[in-house]
């Protein structure tokens, strides 16, 4: 007759459990990227909504293809824009800044100018279409 043998219940070795959990924790810590999308926001005017604006309230900002800026027909350094714009705004808060670019202007130069306008807390920014060449 076969004798029934009582085997002791084997337990899974759980000492490495903590290691595995820790490893997983580190893995997720490293792979998590808290993606933050940031940028300069702007609201485009809707189509066919062109307004006639008093010429006095417009400040023209022209950017040429090499990134040189012409502010109201005066060559201006990009870093100086925010100061000038701030002064202009303190005199007349209704000013609209019309940014006009050359088709070959670099996006970076445009962003720099927009950044300067935002720094001066200019809210009325208009993007003029570049002239067709």
């Amino acid at each position: 007759m076969i004798k029934k043998q009582r085997r002791p219940i084997e337990e899974v070795n759980s000492s490495s459990m903590a290691d595995i959990a820790f490893l997983l924790l580190v893995f997720f810590l490293v792979t998590t990227t808290i993606s933050m999308d940031k940028g300069i926001s702007l609201v485009l005017p809707s189509e066919g909504n062109e307004l006639e604006v008093n010429r006095k309230n417009i400040v023209n900002i022209l950017i040429n293809e090499s990134g040189k800026v012409l502010l109201d027909d005066r060559p201006t350094k990009v870093n100086a824009i925010s100061g000038i714009v701030e002064r202009k705004l303190s005199r007349n808060s209704n000013l609209i800044f019309s940014v006009q670019t050359h088709p070959r202007t670099k996006y970076q130069d445009y962003i720099r100018v927009l950044d300067q306008l935002k720094e001066a807390k200019a809210t009325k920014i208009s993007i003029a279409n570049p002239p067709a060449f």
């Binding site: 959990a21 997983l24 924790l25 997720f28 810590l29 792979t31 998590t32 990227t33 993606s35 933050m36 999308d37 940031k38 940028g39 300069i40 926001s41 702007l42 609201v43 485009l44 005017p45 809707s46 189509e47 950017i63 670019t101 050359h102 088709p103 070959r104 202007t105 670099k106 996006y107 970076q108 445009y110 962003i111 720099r112 927009l114 950044d115 935002k118 720094e119 993007i127 279409n129 570049p130």
Partner: protein, 113 residues
């Protein structure tokens, strides 16, 4: 607990965009919500990509229009290379205006002080 937190919050990147170097700016704002954002990528070679597909610039307005219909609160985040020409950016502007997608955000990195 920590493990579970990170496991839940980790989002594996769904897609990578085109190869661009974003411009840097100081006065940047956070986008309101990721759910109401649509990304438009523009490279310096004039390629435009939406939703992981390279599209013709003239198809942008139609695509954006269908997005706007689905979610009127949508903001377009324009991820453009710093060397992109303004011609392309202006074209994107006019396409977005045609589609009535007027909330735009120029994606930029924080300027190192």
């Amino acid at each position: 607990m920590l493990l579970i937190f990170f496991m839940v919050t980790t989002v594996m990147r769904e897609y990578e965009g085109l190869d661009i170097i974003m411009p840097r700016a100081k006065m940047i704002e956070k986008l309101e919500s990721k759910r109401h954002t649509s990304y438009v990528w523009a490279t310096k070679d004039g390629l435009v990509s939406v939703d992981d597909r390279i599209i013709n610039i003239n198809d942008l307005s139609g695509l954006m229009y269908s997005k706007i219909v689905k979610d009127p609160k949508i903001t377009v985040s324009l991820k453009a290379d710093e060397k992109t020409t303004m011609k392309l950016i202006t074209d994107i502007h006019s396409q977005l205006r045609t589609a009535n997608a007027l909330k735009l955000s120029y994606s930029a990195l924080t300027k190192a002080p």
